[in-house]
């Protein structure tokens, strides 16, 4: 009995922390409609900051707490809202989620940079460490009591804030109808800013409390958010009391599991599968159940308007692109060292995984946070199925994983948007914990995936695998193009653009979603099945999926080229550290930094570069300038002022990064274009002045550095030069007010009004 009480107290205290985190999620979701995946990471950063102030710099606890919770956290929240989230109005759920993923990646990178793991680090102490108080014969630490107190205080303060203050009333008004609040003189932007500040404070508080219980580690603090998702979903993302109840239930489940799992009656394995992974999966299972218990998302008309635009790919361009990619890879691969070949191969693997998101996310608008999970399943299938990696094995593996993909989508199919995305995240975590971590699947930590066995062709060198990967990407990419141009492709787009219209025209949304998920899972499985090497479960972990999703969206998830760009960028990024050691830390935050600016350009980088070239074709002056610049770089090379490598890299930089940006810089109206011009000039100087022959010691690294320089300076300039697009939230476009008047409409208006316009 006494034991039960102990575990109840432990459980409730854990639940109290979940409640604080989850209420922060609810506050931002309801006021800005953005589900903040980076919420846990905010708490993690706050805990580290507090540790820095309190234990490293020895400030008194109240001062450290005040500075962290009441100055830095609100400031962080305000800056996030102002500079990252505000640009996201009018974008799709996919872009919104990706930006929070980017923020997540950015914060983890920053924490790794500032606080590299170090065993000699000062310990993170509980509040009043060592003090306990006896309740019913059980010693409870003061820290736990303080945790309870904080949760209760948060509940009371939030209640008072929302119902008794002007700002609270304004917040609730924004929840009800943002546009209407604005029309009535309310200021939704300020309200949202306030909400993000509060949310960051709540995350910070929870992070500090949890760090006291579990020590200062990045991962558990960040994944804390999964528990919070479950609680917030139980509260249906809107109800704070339900959220608190959900958090308490989760905490108790965890504690009771801990208590009973050691008892003799408790099964240690089911059908030979160890279930030790269950404890870590409890929140995920609860999340899954809570998601499925949600009522079917109702078909509503007139909800979403997308800013993203992608054209239908033509066969001629696609085939040229595919042939070009294979030819380039064959040519380059001869120059690469073994280790660089493997790095580029890695980039192609990511590109195939990113490609799997094109039909699902880009076309059909369904978000998946689990693409690498399907790659992992593909790797397992390829290694376990008979045939030792011949083509039939590959096909069987793809078909099996595609079926699994459809099966996973089946229960989740009733959901849409954020709920669907979260259920794929839950699936990814479950598979990681319960399947990848099993002895049966990954014996001794890794398995060996056989190399694809094609008749008459021997592929056993890394170079062979690289060419195979480029071939696989091209083949699958053409398949995706074929899908886009087919009946199914049009249906996928219809599903994204207007589910309501699609359904009333006779389309089964369920069947279309299932097809999208199956195709996506099938493509992703190839990335695993073609690994042709030893693979470990960590490679396919849920947290590894997030950067892939992020960079696919950054590259442009609506097109095959975007997927390739995003995948290579991610593959290349991990190498930046080895290329230029001083940039090691920059590499950690780079994907996140690129991603948080997505709000400005939801179609992705690849689409934008293409558009920029098309505009340039009509501008002779700028074309001449571009040609002149390229000529000048050649002259510099011919006069031996710069090396051949600098000529090569600078020239490509000029063509791919400078030229497409010229129009925006010349035509821009704001002062930002000077900034953009300066940034781009720095890029030119950097690409020309680095001593590529000696400082960078291999061709592969030079190529990767080239891609990164183009991505960083080229894409960065685009984002700088562009006015941030602000859509009017009262949505006049929905009623057609934004369309230009036609001549007839003008005539009509003149007649009706009796005036000449």
């Amino acid at each position: 009995m006494q034991e039960l009480l102990t575990f109840t107290i432990i459980g409730l205290s854990t639940g109290a922390i979940y409640a604080v985190v989850a209420s922060g999620l609810v506050v931002t979701y309801t006021t800005s409609g953005i589900f903040n995946l980076a919420h846990g990471a905010t708490g993690m950063l706050a805990a580290f900051t507090y540790w820095q102030l309190r234990f490293d710099w020895d400030l008194p606890a109240p001062v450290a707490l005040f500075v962290t919770l009441f100055i830095l956290c609100p400031l962080f929240g305000i800056l996030t809202e102002r500079f990252v989230m505000r640009g996201l109005q009018g974008t799709s759920e996919v872009v919104k989620l990706s930006v929070t993923v980017a923020l997540f990646a950015f914060m983890i990178g920053a924490a790794n940079w500032i606080w590299p793991s170090d065993s000699g680090r000062q310990a993170f102490l509980k509040f009043f460490e060592g003090n306990t108080v006896s309740i019913g014969g059980i010693n409870v630490s003061w820290h736990k009591l303080i945790t309870f107190g904080c949760a209760i205080l948060v509940a009371i303060v939030l209640r008072l804030l929302l119902f008794r203050t002007r700002m609270g009333v304004a917040m609730r008004a924004v929840v009800d109808d943002r546009a209407l609040t604005e029309l009535n003189g309310g200021r939704p932007d300020r309200v949202a800013m306030f909400a993000w500040a509060i949310s960051a404070m709540l995350a910070g508080l929870a992070g500090i409390l949890l760090a006291g219980e579990q020590q200062l580690n990045i991962e558990p603090l960040v994944l804390l958010v999964i528990n919070a998702y479950a609680a917030a979903i139980i509260g249906r993302l809107t109800s704070l009391p339900m959220t608190f109840a959900g958090a308490a239930v989760l905490g108790l489940l965890d504690a009771y599991y801990l208590q009973f799992s050691d008892d003799s009656w408790f099964p240690q394995s089911i059908m030979g599968f160890g279930i030790s992974g269950i404890r870590a999966s409890i929140p995920t299972i609860v999340l899954f159940i809570a998601l499925l218990a949600r009522p079917q998302s109702r078909l509503r008309a007139g909800v979403v308007r997308f800013r993203e635009q992608n054209k239908v790919p033509t066969w001629s361009t696609s085939i040229m692109g595919a042939v070009g990619l294979i030819a380039t890879t064959v040519a380059i691969s001869g120059m690469l060292t073994r280790s660089n070949t493997l790095l580029l191969l890695n980039g192609f693997t990511f590109a195939i995984v990113a490609l799997s998101l094109v039909p699902l996310t880009g076309y059909a608008g369904q978000m998946s946070l689990a693409p690498l999970t399907f790659a992992g399943l593909g790797a397992i299938a390829m290694s376990k199925l008979p045939g030792d990696g011949n083509l039939l094995t590959l096909i069987a593996a793809v078909v099996i994983v595609a079926l699994v993909g459809a099966l996973v989508a089946l229960p989740a199919i009733r959901l849409s948007g954020i709920y669907l995305a979260l259920s794929t995240a839950a699936f990814a975590v479950l598979v990681t914990k319960l399947i990848f971590n099993q002895k049966q699947t990954f014996m001794s930590g890794n398995i060996s995936v056989p190399v694809l066995d094609i008749p008459f062709i021997e592929i056993n060198t890394p170079r062979g695998r690289l060419i195979l990967a480029s071939f696989a990407f091209s083949f699958l990419g053409l398949g995706v193009v074929a899908v886009r141009r087919s009946r199914l492709g049009r249906r996928l787009i219809a599903l994204k653009d207007s589910p309501a219209a699609a359904a009333t025209l006779g389309m089964s949304l369920t069947r279309t979603k299932l097809a999208a998920f199956a195709i996506s899972a099938g493509i992703a499985s190839c990335a695993g099945a073609l690994a042709g090497d030893k693979v470990s479960p960590q490679q396919y972990d849920f947290t590894q999926s997030l950067p892939v999703v992020l960079l696919a969206v950054v590259g442009g998830v609506g097109s095959v080229g975007g997927a390739l760009f995003g995948g290579l960028l991610l593959g290349g990024n991990s190498v930046l550290a080895t290329v230029v050691p001083t940039l090691k830390n920059v590499a950690k935050i780079l994907p996140g930094t690129i991603g948080v600016t997505l709000g400005r350009n939801p179609s992705g980088a690849a689409a934008q570069i293409g558009d920029a070239f098309r505009t340039l074709l009509n501008r002779w002056g700028l074309l001449a300038f571009s040609a002149g610049g390229a000529f000048l770089i050649w002259v510099l090379d011919a006069q031996y002022i710069i090396s051949h490598w600098a000529f090569f890299i600078g020239g490509i930089f000029w063509i791919l990064a400078v030229t497409p940006n010229l129009v925006a810089i010349v035509d821009g109206t704001s002062r930002r274009r000077y900034l953009a011009g300066a940034f781009l000039s720095i890029g030119v100087v950097v690409s020309l002045s680095i001593d590529w022959d000696n400082a960078v010691d291999s061709t592969g690294k030079r190529l990767i550095a080239l891609i990164l320089i183009i991505a960083f300076f080229g894409v960065g300039t685009q984002r700088l030069a562009e006015e941030s697009p602000r859509l009017h939230r009262a949505s006049p476009d929905a009623v057609g007010l934004t369309a230009d008047f036609t001549d007839e409409e003008l005539d009509h208006a003149e007649r009706e009004l009796g005036v000449v316009l």
Partner: protein, 236 residues
């Protein structure tokens, strides 16, 4: 037997009564008007008929078959098609592909020909290769009608098709409706343009605050004191 029979349909949102027991019939080969002030429940009734909103009570029959619990896409297979008051075109597809998706869903054999004919019929052939999201409201409404017709419907629900149309387009819409009903199609029309409604409708239902307060021929409706009261608030 009527093409569409709505019996006792009621919809509550929480404590708010949106529709309070509506009976309505649409006959094949006729244009039936559904008018009423803003907030009367017209779009909600459309959502119930097309399956996007589950009614709290009541039933919907299409050609004598009870479809009350069927999903929207099943009703479409029974010959029900609709347009939307706030446009619901597939904005990233071209105009042609918008209509094409619908034709493909209806499993027609000569899709290209059907699509061309429909674009011609509503008068947007010259816009065929434009992206639907870039269209002005008037053209977009016409494309929605073409798209709905591409499913080969027996019953067409039009939600304010003339709003955003200029006078010429509006006239052409009237002619189009006559042609369609001549082929045996039944049309249920929600519209605020009274001259169009009075001109094309064979029968009109008037909805106010969730209840049908009058129904009859255009002539009867124009002289019904209850209708005047609902629209103008004048004492009857």
């Amino acid at each position: 037997m009527s093409l569409l029979e709505v019996r006792g349909v009621m919809v509550r949102f929480g404590g708010v009564m949106a529709i309070g027991g509506v009976d309505l019939d649409v006959q094949a080969g006729e244009v039936t008007g559904l008018i009423g002030p803003n907030g009367a429940g017209k779009t909600t009734l459309f959502n119930v008929i097309s399956g996007m909103q589950e009614p709290t009570a009541g039933s919907v029959h299409v050609s004598g078959v009870d479809v009350t619990n069927e999903a929207p896409h099943r009703r479409a297979k029974r010959g029900l098609a609709r347009t939307f008051q706030r446009l619901e075109l597939f904005s990233s597809l071209t105009v042609r592909d918008n209509v094409r998706v619908a034709a493909e869903l209806a499993a027609l054999t000569n899709i290209d020909e059907t699509v061309d004919n429909l674009l011609e019929k509503v008068g947007v052939s010259d816009l065929a290769e434009k992206t639907a999201g870039d269209l002005p409201t008037g053209s977009a409404r016409l494309v929605e009608i073409a798209r709905a017709l591409a499913t080969g419907p027996r019953l067409l629900l039009l939600d304010e098709p003339a709003s955003g149309l200029d006078e010429a387009e509006s006239d052409r819409l009237g002619i189009l409706l006559h042609e369609l009903t001549a082929d045996g199609l039944g049309v249920l029309l929600v519209e605020h343009d009274m001259s169009l409604v009075m001109h094309v409708c064979d029968r009109i239902f008037v909805l106010d605050l969730g209840f049908i307060i009058a129904n009859g021929t255009p002539h009867e409706i124009q002289h019904d004191p209850k209708v005047l009261h609902a629209y103008l608030g004048a004492p009857s």
